[in-house]
Amino acid sequence: MGKLIGESVKRVEDRRFTTGTGQYTDDIVLPRMTHAHIVRSHLAHARIRSVNTAAAKSADGVVTVLTGEDFKDIGGVPCGWQVDFKDGTTMHEPKHPILVADKVRHVGDAVAVVIAETKGQARDAAELVEVDYEELPVVTDATEALKAGAPQVHDDLPNNMVFDWELGDQGATDTGIANAHHVTKLEIRNQRLVPNAIEPRSYIGDYDAARDFYTLYTSSQNPHVIRLLMCAFVLELPEHKVRVVSRDVGGGFGSKIYHYTEEALVIWASKQIGRPIKWTAERSESFVTDAHGRDHNTTAEMGFDDAGKITALRVRTDANLGAYLSTFSTCIPTYLHGTLLQGQYTTPAIHISLNAVFTNTTAVDAYRGAGRPEATYLIERLMDTAAAEMNIDPAELRKRNFIPPFDGVNQPGYQTQVALQYDSGNYIAAMEKALETIGYQDLRREQEEARKQGRYLGIGFSSYIEACGIAPSAVVGSLGARAGLFESANIRVQPTGKVSVYTGSHSHGQGHETTFAQLVADNLGIPMENVEIVHGDTEQIPFGMGTYGSRSLAVGGSAISRSLDKVKEKGAKIAAHLLEASVDDLDFADGKWTVRGTDKSKAFDEVSLAAYVPHNFPEGMEPGIEFNSFYDPANFTYPFGTHIAVVEVDPDTGTVTLQRFVAVDDVGNIINPMIVDGQIQGGVAQGVGQALLESANYDESGQFSTGTYMDYAMPRADDLPSIEVSQNVTPCPHNPLGVKGCGEAGTIGATPAVVNAAIDALRPLGVTDLEMPLSPPRVWSAIQQASA
């Protein structure tokens, strides 16, 4: 390891982000550009009798108005992952049209688009579009939607089922529960959330008739994936005639992975009108059209023997996928949720049975953590509840059940009951460090004292595991993924020794321009400022899969590492030629190749120059130094950790105040500790948001009652204490960097710790369960009911 890896180098991209000089999609202004405004349904479920666009078409500045009729013969946006019914029947996959013609299925469904000279003119004319609706009955809850007689979201897809699915050994699990000394059972509602990226989605479609060439500027986490889906499934465009550009993107949290209808809309319509079209979501539209997260109704049971060892875990979940299937919606409750139910424990039998369900709501897909928070939440809520019921300390109960340490090298990986094989883990170490950091024994005494004074302190645990670095293409392919999940990196050494890195990963806030540059500069022994990280443009980068699932460093960084090996190998050959030495006699250090035992050396920039000025190259040696790598990992990575929350609850008002939060995470090797700390802290803030504040709610008529920040509570700085973060290091055994990924850990770990802490605080008052978010009215009501 050199001197840059492991250093908290300040983020080089932050200068432009913090001075307003980044270039987001909405900042781009093209000549002759028009503006789109989409007419959306205000109803959750209604048949469209007619759409009258005459008045809108004749309004000032209007170029054209399009409706669902115009898109009848054009494809819908596809789902990227096929999960079939238990009996092998193909999953139900309705068309998700660019504009709907027959009926609207959720508030925000797109009915028409007005394209005009200015944004204001498009907005004004949109009010003149008259849609005649016939209202239909509405269902918004997954469990309700499965009941006989429930309203049908898609007329031809019975019972609102997308698919049913199971994983694990049902017989062994039923036996394990039946024979258990103690069974803990919880009904869990993991509520729906809105991702709330700070930059609304924004797209520009630009068709160039002269070249017969399309350019899409998009706020996407994965431009190549968008290009592939749009070209192959929706518009049937030749992929080599389409460029997708996604440069600066203001946050995604998963919501910008998916191919959205508006992307295809601006591209297709741009060709129709022969001019570029920009569409940028208003915040109100973001609330009802960005794919939401979570929304599971779960019954979970965990059996224990008389020594407090887990005997079995049984899970029944209804997962709400919304009105249409978003790109990865089907794999979230299945392969990123059911497969994580082993947690950190030696549970010998696990079974999950799950229904994926259509409802009259916005589509649900991955949101930071994606399936893993749902799995962690139910396991960790069961653990703290069981500990209280069996009168065992919650830390002790976990210790009795942890999988023993294994490094994946000297000890094999851990084969779970739910398909995955963990790479390496040391769960007890993270727990011990968290207990020590928080001062556990003293804290329990303090809690005791506080109770005597009528103050309600609570301590909550969460020991989470996640599957990241998604993942081996062969594995995901066997599970139904319609894409590979490798990553690419091209390194171009310029003649002057400067280095351009073209990564298939995508940064939308993560800091790749810093972390990747540290990795490259450290390996090549050159200054960081000599390295440029390029991402987000299909005309520049090799085919890449983008960023989600905490995969950038583990998969994208590993691809860079592979290309670095190739660069150094080629550089050594050139240096050997220049030094008239054998490659075997050269050492590479501090940016130069030295003939071992001599002072003869060639620096990186000298070798680079020679590579492009090959006046005396030997026969057979190619000029230039440029290498591409595609890296497909051998396994997922499995970061883990223990989080402990300390809260105080005001019993008079039900207010839960987070006093301390300790996060001990193990994300493998670390390149930039500051960025890792920041990712964990931001993730914890989002996890606390779900626990205490956030909830996306529909009323009985399917209206979205939390569609503004007046109603949807986001965590703010004053809701959070200073988060105490630290890391253990258990390297990943199967990738060249030994890294596991840190983007989602905070979100996955934090939520159950906070809820467990609040319940721990209120147990003396008889409260044993609380539903998220722990809003003051809800907590107050629980206290009232418990004491009644």
Partner: protein, 284 residues
């Protein structure tokens, strides 16, 4: 987030503003700091054809000590009230209510006159204005009149300001109770508007409450003085028990607002909790 088209007029004096209001009648809305009206316009919840901007009228700015009362111009910003030494000392409930509104950016633009004339049932000022026994100065084409705070809030989004009139000044008596006043806010987590806002102004003598005024914001259709709490507290030695008893009278006999995020039962219970806390804060 683009408002519908509107005509814009900027008044440089109260007389000019009144003339413009008379000229344009119901088509026109008055724009002060714009922190309620402009967001509503951006969402097209409000689509006024004309705006009369009074923000540039210099005579409506500022805080003056007039001996027996503090005079506050209608265009005085929340931040000016929050940070004024005079207001902090003589009418701390008002200063605290101002400091509880929105965020710094909002407090730098929003005005007390705009907020009071808007009469949002969830606004912070009204309860404080009631507890402080303020007088409001209203000007119309016929001249100037004054209204006591207790007669100002007439219903949901409604005040004593009539069509063609402007709220120009708020007068806060500099009495002993106002110097010993507070505003406690229990905010809804998303909007940070109050579940309950409770203002109390109290005079004490030897640990006994000799007089008290209690105003609530955000609880009912409009802000109100709660005589039940006042009567239960007046003449009592201030203690945990007496404050709890008095607080428990809060909202009795009154209707209370509820919505999807907060039930009537909860809001009523919180009014009692915060009345007690506010009474103890100024009574000790």
């Amino acid at each position: 987030m683009i408002p519908a088209a509107f005509e814009y007029y900027r008044a440089s004096s109260v007389d000019e503003a009144l003339a413009l209001m008379q000229q344009h009648g119901e088509d026109a809305k008055v724009l002060a700091g714009g922190h309620s009206l402009v967001p509503a316009m951006k969402l097209r919840l409000a689509t006024p054809e004309k705006l009369i901007d009074i923000g540039g009228i210099s005579g409506l700015q500022g805080i003056q000590d007039r001996g027996d009362h503090i005079a506050i111009g209608a265009l005085t910003t929340h931040w000016q009230l929050e940070s004024s030494d005079l207001v902090q000392q003589k009418a701390s409930a008002l200063s605290q209510a101002a400091g509880a509104i929105g965020d710094v950016q909002v407090r730098n633009r929003g005005t007390i006159g705009g907020a009071l004339a808007h009469a949002d049932p969830a606004a912070d000022y009204p309860g404080a204005i009631l507890a402080l026994n303020a007088t409001l100065v209203i000007r119309g084409s016929g001249g100037e009149r004054t209204v006591a705070a207790s007669g100002f809030f007439t219903g949901l989004w409604e005040t004593a300001v009539q069509d063609g009139e402007l709220l120009t000044e708020i007068r806060i008596p500099t009495d002993a109770a106002n110097a010993n006043s507070c505003y406690l806010k229990f905010p809804q987590p998303a909007s940070r508007y109050p579940y309950v806002g409770c203002a109390v102004a109290m005079t004490t003598s030897g640990g006994t409450c000799s007089d008290v005024r209690v105003g609530f914001s955000g609880v009912g259709e409009s802000a109100f003085r709660d005589s039940g709490v006042e009567n239960a507290m007046r003449g009592q030695a201030v203690s945990e028990a007496s404050a709890k008893f008095a607080g428990d009278q809060a909202t009795n006999g009154r209707s209370v607002l509820s919505d999807w995020s907060v039930s009537e039962e909860y809001r009523r219970a919180m009014a009692k909790v915060f009345a007690k806390r506010a009474l103890l804060q100024v009574g000790r």
